[in-house]
């Protein structure tokens, strides 16, 4: 106890009298830290443009309910780390990377490969590996950040909402840094990164009566917004951007890699009216089979849906009609998955990745063929099988529009 007290007091006095301050550079008081929540990476000639978004308290501090407000800052540097250090030349607070939630990377930057830029986020001790990666199509990351912040919204919050709702349509996904890193380091499978797109609304009359949006709409005749749709796919070896899968093709891809949470399939009843089905469960098995040296891969999808909306008046709940719906549904899913497969074959990248399945199922054989995988991949015969069923109908059994006979 005596010794403890002595040690404590010595350490503490040393610290107070600044003897240790020089040794301990790690101290960063919470009050002078800037929390980076979203990062944007862009290409600027041969440099990297780094945009950071911090959530800080707004200038209107007098009220008790201080408003959180996003601010963004931009620097350029040869590498991310250098660009990061340039912030210190003009920012009055320390930048803290420990709370980065989203990393936006512009399409132009990924054209030369993604791996070089991920290293910083893997290596730095502050950054978390659960930050989500997004690639911005056409526009730069800075522009997309600007777009949201200028409209008075919170970029981090917006991305958060987009990410949360990604399962509703299942046209995109979430890829945290560590997952991206482990697929990028695998030389046989291509990696996918969710795609952010900026969409210009064609119609000018906005549905919402929100004052803010209205004012934005006045400034630019075409209002733009950020949507999360599709995937950017990267080459397995160089991690360069190969192409995009968007819309229903992306959903096909999600079907193949088992990332479907929910989604909407619109089919027609016998009379040509729309019937909307909601996906509630989907499971895909990738089954590889060797026919001699030739590889045959079957995608077996099991799907179950709900009837969510019936626009016509036909009574669908007969064996015959349900069969019809299921058949259409099967066809649609099959088509979507096929599109995704076609994309993979076209660019010769194993995006699913089938290599993993083969490795697990035929470890001995895999050892022999793994070096020629890219060649073998193009020669694979793909089969898609969909086995679906319609499970439930919500609360009304018959369509609202159905009339009593006679």
């Amino acid at each position: 106890m005596r010794r403890t007290l002595i040690i404590t007091l010595i350490l503490f006095t040393l610290y107070i009298s600044a003897g240790l301050e020089t040794m301990i550079g790690g101290r960063k008081s919470i009050t002078d830290a800037f929390y980076v929540t979203t990062v944007g990476l862009d290409k600027a000639k041969d440099k990297i443009k780094l945009t950071i978004v911090t959530q800080s308290l707004g200038p209107e501090e007098e009220t008790e309910y201080t408003k959180k407000q996003d601010k963004y800052f931009v620097t350029e540097g040869k590498t991310i780390f250098e660009a990061n250090r340039f912030f210190t030349t003009f920012m009055d607070n320390k930048i803290f990377w420990g709370h980065v939630d989203y990393i936006l990377i512009s399409e132009s930057l990924v054209k030369n490969g993604l791996d070089t830029y991920l290293d910083f986020f893997m290596r730095d001790h502050e950054t978390r590996l659960i930050a989500e990666l997004f690639i911005v199509k056409e526009y730069s990351a800075e522009e997309s950040i600007k777009l949201v912040i200028d409209s008075g919204e919170d970029i981090t919050n917006t991305l958060h909402v987009l990410k949360e709702d990604v399962g509703k349509l299942s046209v995109s996904g979430c890829v945290p840094v560590y997952e991206a890193f482990s697929t990028i380091t695998d030389e046989n499978c291509g990696s996918n990164v969710p795609l952010l797109q900026i969409i210009e609304d064609e119609k000018e009359e906005t549905d919402s009566t929100d004052a803010k949006e209205a004012s934005v709409a006045e400034d630019n005749p075409k209002s733009k917004r950020l949507v999360l749709d599709g995937y950017a796919l990267l080459d397995p070896e160089s991690s360069e951007l190969v192409g995009f899968l968007t819309g229903n093709d992306a959903r096909g891809f999600n079907f193949a890699i088992n990332k479907i949470k929910s989604g909407v399939i619109v089919v027609e009843d016998p009379e040509g009216e729309d019937v909307t089905l909601e996906i509630i469960k989907s499971k895909t098995k990738i089954i590889p089979k060797f026919n001699g040296d030739k590889l045959e891969v079957t995608f077996k999808t099991k799907l179950s849906t709900n009837i969510a909306e019936i626009d016509g008046s036909t009574n669908l709940f007969t064996d015959e009609n349900i069969e019809l719906l299921i058949k259409q549904q099967n066809e649609m899913v099959k088509k979507e998955v096929k599109n995704a497969i076609d994309f993979a074959l076209k660019h010769n990248i194993d995006i699913f990745p089938i290599s993993k399945v083969v490795e697990r199922k035929f470890p001995v054989k895999w050892d022999k063929i793994k070096d020629d995988w890219r060649k073998i991949f193009t020669e694979i015969t793909f089969n898609v099988e969909v086995d679906s069923q319609i499970d439930r109908t919500y609360s009304i059994k018959e369509p609202v529009l159905s009339r009593e006979d006679g």
Binding site: I7, M23, I24, G98, R128, P176, Y178, D186, P363, D367
Partner: protein
């Protein structure tokens, strides 16, 4: 009560053993075995159980025969006074180097993980200072501290494991086939090199209730097997063997992935903080072993006056040992493990055979 004074029970010894093995295995095992055995890395601890069983059989035979004697005395008796001194000198030098390695690693680990801008001297000097103070309280107090630290550590690792279960992907841990046998064997060398039980025998004259040795060491072995499997499964299962194989602190990176309810994160700080506790135990136990060897080698009456000067040597040695962390890692993987294997598995077994030949056991 009075009779047991100054002695520690076999149960406490096994707690010391478990904690000293846990410390380096967190840092080293996952990376080493993932590098060698790829996705089958989590099987390597199972293989390690075999040399472990052999070793505890040998040590038990020696312990039961030479009751109340330390390992130094056993070596003297089995070989001869002269050869015994040479063997002990080897042990002394190697343990000092190993201890320097651990002190350095302990500081490096803190600096690379959560204190990037802090002078490393602060960590080494403060730790050595505290060890120098506490070691004077004797092995009994150390063993008691260790029991509490063990509980804390168990709590930390189990709760982290529970938090990490959702991130574990079985894809990263399979397939296992007959092709993995050789890599798994190779990978298990890393684990085998970490069975630090022989080093604890340098104070085996302080053991009491030695009859329970086999029972408790089996418990300890099974426990360690579980813990190292958990460590490997969590790190390889969340990150994949490619990342684990190339990162020095893979378990830490795996812990970095934890996000509880999407709100709480940054658990790596707690993990690193809990490592300080186990590092402390490792350093103090090794120091105690070294001091006991010194005492026996130089026929000292008391080792207490030698602690401070020894720590000065040790501090200098941590800097002499390596220039940067890469060199240290290479040293650890390419030299230390093999040397450990020799010093704590092969040498005791040899001594056992010599004793058998000379009909001393």
């Amino acid at each position: 009560m009075e009779k047991g004074k100054g002695k520690i029970s076999i149960r406490q010894v096994m707690f010391l053993f478990v904690v000293t093995v846990y410390t380096p295995s967190v840092r080293f095992v996952a990376g080493y075995s993932a590098g060698k055995a790829k996705q089958a890395a989590w099987l390597t601890p199972l293989v390690t159980l075999i040399p472990f069983l052999v070793l505890i059989y040998v040590l038990n035979a020696l312990l039961q025969k030479y009751k109340g004697l330390s390992f130094m005395d056993i070596i003297y008796d089995v070989t001869s006074r002269f050869w015994g001194k040479i063997i002990l000198l080897l042990y002394l030098v190697w343990l000092t180097v190993l201890l320097a390695l651990y002190v350095r690693f302990y500081a490096e680990r803190l600096v690379t993980s959560i204190y990037p801008n802090v002078n490393m001297n602060l960590f080494t000097i403060s730790m050595l200072l505290i060890v120098a103070i506490i070691i004077r309280a004797g092995i009994v107090a150390i063993a008691r501290m260790n029991e509490i630290i063990f509980l804390i550590e168990l709590f930390v690792i189990l709760s982290l494991f529970l938090l990490m279960i959702p991130t574990i992907k079985t894809d990263y841990l399979t397939p296992i086939s007959s092709m993995d046998i050789v890599p798994v064997m190779k990978g298990s060398i890393g684990n085998t090199g970490l069975i630090y039980i022989t080093y604890l025998f340098f104070f085996s004259d302080r053991f009491s209730r030695t009859k329970e040795f086999i029972r408790y060491s089996l418990y300890a072995g099974i426990f360690l097997w579980l813990v190292s499997t958990i460590i490997i499964i969590t790190s390889v299962g969340t990150l994949g063997h490619s990342i684990v194989g190339r990162s020095p602190l893979s378990f830490l990176i795996a812990v970095k992935n934890i996000s509880l309810l999407g709100v709480l994160s940054g658990f790596e700080s707690i993990l690193v903080a809990s490592w300080i506790l186990t590092d402390f135990i490792l350093i103090i136990v090794f120091t105690y072993s070294i001091m006991n060897i010194t005492k026996s080698l130089l026929n000292l009456r008391d080792f207490k006056p030698f602690i401070n000067i020894f720590f000065v040597i040790l501090y200098l040695l941590t800097w002499i040992l390596g220039v940067n962390v890469f060199e240290l890692q290479a040293f650890s993987a390419d030299f230390a493990i093999q040397m450990n294997l020799l010093m704590q598995v092969i040498v005791p077994i040899l001594i056992f055979f010599i004793a058998k030949i000379r009909k001393k056991v």
